[in-house]
Amino acid sequence: MKIVEKIDRQFLVCIMVAALLFGMAGMAFADDFDQVAQFSGRAAEQAADADAFDDEYAESENLIADPLKYWNMTWFYLNDGLYHGVFKPVATGYAWLVPAQPRTWISNFFTNMLFPVRFINNILTGKFDAAYMETSKFIVNTSIGFLGFGDVTAGRARNWEPERPTADGFGQTLGKAGVGHGFYLVWPFIGPSSVRESVGWVADAYCDPLTYGNLTFIEFAAIRVYKNVNTISLQLVGNEYEVLTEGAIDKYAAVRDAYIRYRAKKVAE
């Protein structure tokens, strides 16, 4: 009996001490609470803001290494100047001179000619349905479409879409194999690239029938320039490059970010 009483008393004391402590703690909390309440609107907003930074965009600040920044910037601004000062005005004049339909035929012709690049990379990345579709389009467009000027397969029922979009080059294939970009590179006339994409670009050139033509460098470059002008002439209003750079406070950084993200998306598909 005595023991039970003793425990009871101890228990009571414990509870009292605990209650006292809680009470004091409560007062201390109340103090803090007052302070928070004084500028609760701002504090709550700041807390919510801090909450929003779950680092969804943290990688944007260091998306790719750019050790040759000044070299890259030089070529970037040269290319940008060429676009606005030469290519766009020439393409505008060309578009005024030549109706859209023939320009589309020419664009089709160049697209059709790059069939080997798409076919090989479709096979390499296991996109067999896309490889099949590319082959059938190539055969039909080259024959019935007169060397690819006409895209006779467009909009046809048999022209189903492959499960994953068709491959666009060896750079993409390398990316899929797990090869990283290395670092960012901008080439004069060619534009944004990276170590990996430059290797891809050279490999693709080997699959481009144009490089097998018996052409001098000047002829080859002229054809490339013409192809470029033709492409721009078909997208004179509100093209991606202009929207991106006109809205940018730092064109160079904007294009670098967009290029790397776009390539990442292509590698992922």
């Binding site: 930074f53 969804e56 965009y57 944007s60 509100g238 970010d257 993200r261 292509k266």
Partner: protein, 212 residues
């Protein structure tokens, strides 16, 4: 006794929580995007759109609509990144306003290029207070994949980022702003955004002069 009290209070809590999400359940993220798109298309197909005299009125209508669905404060905040937390309220609101003007000139004023492109809604993903809505915009023979990112702000799904072909608007601006904020002050960033807005207004005026 404990559980007898607990159960009704839990029940009450569930009821309250239920009614809060009921307000949200009126519109799923995808429905929000669809509502925004149909409201924008309605303004764009209004014949007033083609009337140069009413150009400014149409633009402000577009902006008011955009602000109903896009939380520009979030867009700016996420584009700025962590330095935002150290900025004064004044700088934050100035930056937001300047950034809205920049986006308005870059994107809203371009929408008149709209020619009845089709929008396909592919799917939506919801995880907690965030959601993604995937769409495909079909423009002639081109398909553009556009992803909208939304979060719940004041009981509403609000857009805070648009990702086109893998390029995030917020991410793209973050990469530009980070550089400026690394080397300079928030005021410098503000100045640069305002200068860009002026630059865009100037080219817009030049175009008008050429056209008239």
């Amino acid at each position: 006794m404990f559980s007898k009290r607990l159960i009704p209070s839990l029940f009450l809590l569930c009821l309250l929580a239920g009614s809060a999400s009921a307000a949200l359940a009126n519109q799923t993220p995808m429905e929000r995007i669809k509502a925004a798109a149909s409201e924008l298309i309605e303004i764009l197909s209004d014949p007033d759109m083609q009337d140069p005299a009413k150009h400014d009125a149409t633009i402000s209508r577009l902006r008011a609509t955009a602000e109903k669905y896009i939380d520009f404060r979030q867009v700016t905040m996420l584009s700025v990144g962590r330095p935002w937390l150290k900025m004064s309220q004044q700088v934050q609101s100035d930056l937001t306003e300047a950034f809205i003007q920049l986006l308005e000139r870059t994107y809203l004023q371009r929408i008149p290029v709209y020619e009845g492109q089709d929008v396909e809604y592919t799917k939506q993903l919801i995880s907690g207070k965030k959601a993604k809505v995937f769409t495909v915009i079909v423009d002639k023979d081109k398909k553009i994949l556009v992803e909208f990112r939304l979060k719940i702000i004041q009981e509403q799904w609000m857009i805070y980022d648009v990702v086109a072909e893998g390029v995030s608007l917020v991410g793209n601006y973050r990469s530009q702003f980070a550089q400026v904020l690394n080397d300079g002050s928030p005021e410098e960033l503000l100045k640069m955004i305002r200068e860009r807005v002026e630059g865009l207004d100037k080219t817009e005026d030049d175009k008008d002069q050429v056209n008239s």
